[in-house]
């Protein structure tokens, strides 16, 4: 067991998989010599050499297209799109190419690759370098979407994504790169499509993802300590596949559902979760499901503005208190 940062966990996960399978290759902008702009891939070039760890031009379409062609013909590429926001310039591969090729070819061609990117706010980067893009990518049948909230999950889920035979979007959170966590020694392999109950509770269920997981846990502790409200917190971890059984089981126990989402409100992943719960567990609910999200605005840069936009511990606490006491 060792303490590892979220960013070092990325490098360890990639190294683990590249050591295991020589078909795993890694490409992206500034990922090799510079070790990544977030320093999440330091040391990989030295360890595996320039044939397997590749600095690319600023060509997001070439990065994802090359990854796809390689994946279709036998490699297991990991492609980095530096800031998640840049997915928009290579969206065709996410929307039209990766997820549809198996279906359109009646199963002839698979696309086993992983796209990693750093998303999320908290860095004061403004509207084009701070977004959470889960709702951009979870709508495509054929694509899987994963977002880890801790170093150990980075390793276990990234390993599972690399070994998965489907294309996987692996959404890291920039504000978590410095966080530390205990990580066991040796190989770590998790399962996609499994949510995790981080804190058991009886009065309400919070479903959260990425950085919002930490704020949700802190809010739950505060609600317990200050108001005696016992909240269950579930880290969704994987939006596709979605562990709805875990969510439905929790709602059956607590009777209340809150989603905490960093994305802007409209069509956020929480809307799908609420829709499923409304469809399948309506009579388990003791009150309306509530979505706590960033308002439907672009993210601003200044500290006080960005802090106000993204759900905070205090906002989560206040929203849940108000809703439970209504």
């Amino acid at each position: 067991m060792a303490e590892l940062t979220y960013r070092d966990a990325v490098a360890r996960a990639i190294a683990q998989e590249m050591t295991r399978d020589e078909n795993v290759v890694f490409l992206g902008e500034d990922v090799a010599k510079a070790g990544g702009v977030f320093k999440a891939t330091v040391g990989l070039l030295d360890k595996f050499g320039p044939k397997r760890v590749i600095d690319t031009p600023i060509s997001e379409q070439a990065i994802l297209g090359a990854a796809m062609g390689a994946a279709m013909t036998g490699l297991r590429p990991i492609a980095e799109i530096m800031f998640a926001d840049f997915i928009a310039v290579c969206y065709d591969y996410i929307a039209n190419e990766f997820p549809k090729t198996r279906y359109m070819t009646n199963g002839q061609v698979g696309c086993p690759l992983v796209v990693r990117c750093g998303g999320g706010g908290g860095s004061r980067f403004g509207a084009q370098h701070s977004q959470c893009i889960e709702n951009w990518v979870m709508q495509f049948p054929g694509l899987k979407v994963v977002s880890p909230s801790s170093p150990v999950d980075v390793i276990g889920l990234l390993a599972a994504a690399v070994r998965d035979d489907d294309p996987v979007m692996f959404l890291e959170h920039k504000s978590l790169y410095a966080m530390k966590g205990e990580v066991p020694d040796g190989e770590i392999l998790d399962r996609l499509g499994t949510a995790k109950i981080l804190r058991a509770g009886t009065d309400a269920t919070i479903i959260a993802l990425g950085m919002m997981v930490h704020r949700s846990v802190a809010a739950a502790e505060k609600l317990q300590a200050e108001y005696g409200v016992n909240v269950e917190v579930i880290d969704v971890r994987s939006l596709v596949p979605l562990d709805t059984q875990c969510i439905l089981g929790s709602v059956a126990k607590t009777g209340r559902l809150f989603t905490v989402e960093e994305n802007p409100r409209v069509l956020g992943w929480g809307a799908e979760v609420v829709s499923i719960v409304a469809d399948e567990a309506f009579y388990d609910l003791d009150g309306p499901p509530v979505r706590i999200t960033t308002p439907n605005i672009p993210l601003p840069a200044a500290d006080q503005l960005e802090d106000m936009a993204i759900p905070s511990v205090d906002r989560i606490v206040a929203t849940i208190r108000k809703s439970l006491s209504a």
């Binding site: 290759v25 044939k51 690319t56 031009p57 060509s59 997001e60 379409q61 070439a62 990065i63 994802l64 297209g65 090359a66 990854a67 796809m68 062609g69 390689a70 994946a71 279709m72 013909t73 036998g74 490699l75 590429p77 065709d92 591969y93 039209n96 190419e97 090729t101 198996r102 279906y103 359109m104 070819t105 009646n106 199963g107 002839q108 061609v109 698979g110 086993p112 049948p141 054929g142 899987k144 998965d164 035979d165 489907d166 499509g193 596709v240 596949p241 979605l242 562990d243 709805t244 059984q245 499923i276």
Partner: protein, 366 residues
Amino acid sequence: MVKWNISVARSFAGRAPVETINMAKMTPAAGKPGALPPNDDIGEAKRLELYRLQVLLREAEQRAFDLFLQNQIKGTSHLSLGQEAIAAGCAAAMQPGDLSFCTYRGHAHTLARGVPVEKVLGELMGRDNGLMRGKGGSMHLTSVEHGVMGSYAIIGAHIPIACGAAWRAQYKGASDVSVCFFGDGTTNIGAFHEGINYAAIHKLPVVFVCENNLYMEYTPIADVIPVKHPAADRASAYGLERILIDGNDADVVYRTMLKAYARARAGEGPSLIECLTYRHSGHSRADPAKYRPEGELEKWKQRDPIKIYRERLKSFDFPDETMAAIDAEIKKIIDDATTACQAAPTTSTDILFTDVYADGGWAWRN
């Protein structure tokens, strides 16, 4: 090292290189009169293969067109009528294991790799005997067993994808070449630049084939490019040789591709080849191509690739009966394939939910 020079653009008869779209300067129909010279590099068997392939592509596309008119094929289609020499020449120069990446105008490139006509027509007709049992349709023909790695309907998307397949070959030390086909219109989209730049910096074993049929969909390509030749005039931006050939002469295409593939296999990197041609039909099923100047189509029909090739074979003293026998054989293949497709069951709706994910199903949640 295979050194590119403009001689690859010369006609078999050694005429002037093709430098403009002026048809007067393009390849003459016939080669030197008389029998095949003993040192001929293409040879009798390959010439008959090229002829047969072109006739096959012509007749299959014509049949697809006819079936559309009869409403037996739904959706859209983008025919390669008039462009057969490129598909035939490129495929005839390939080796088994080489990979083709096609566009939505991909019937000819798919058939040229040996995919049975019945499977292609079946796919167009939504029948169970189709290549993908109707799940892909006209614009996504794919047959991995024949090296056809897909037909891509988003302009330019497959250029980086072909790079990726070539990267795998380079990484694994495999000898296959990835061949990527696209039209003149593709040269204006970002993925074209990104992909060719990427291939050039890594010296990937990929050959980019631009079929310049003079129109990007409905618009003359000349209206939307600042240079004369959309691919050839941009090659230097990627450190590549300028290669412009007569795309209506299968011999020229075949010879050019042999060199390009050899160069790719030798680790000398990609080639970007612009083939001048003309599509006899509109952009798609819905397009009667009324934007073409009067007489343009008729002029190009004088340079119909199959006409050129038939005259070429005649000039080498191939007997008429040989060509007639090929024509008859192809007609039977197309007729038999049509009959088989018409008799084939429509695709079972059971496959609606298969192969979304690698587990074979479509479940995205538990």
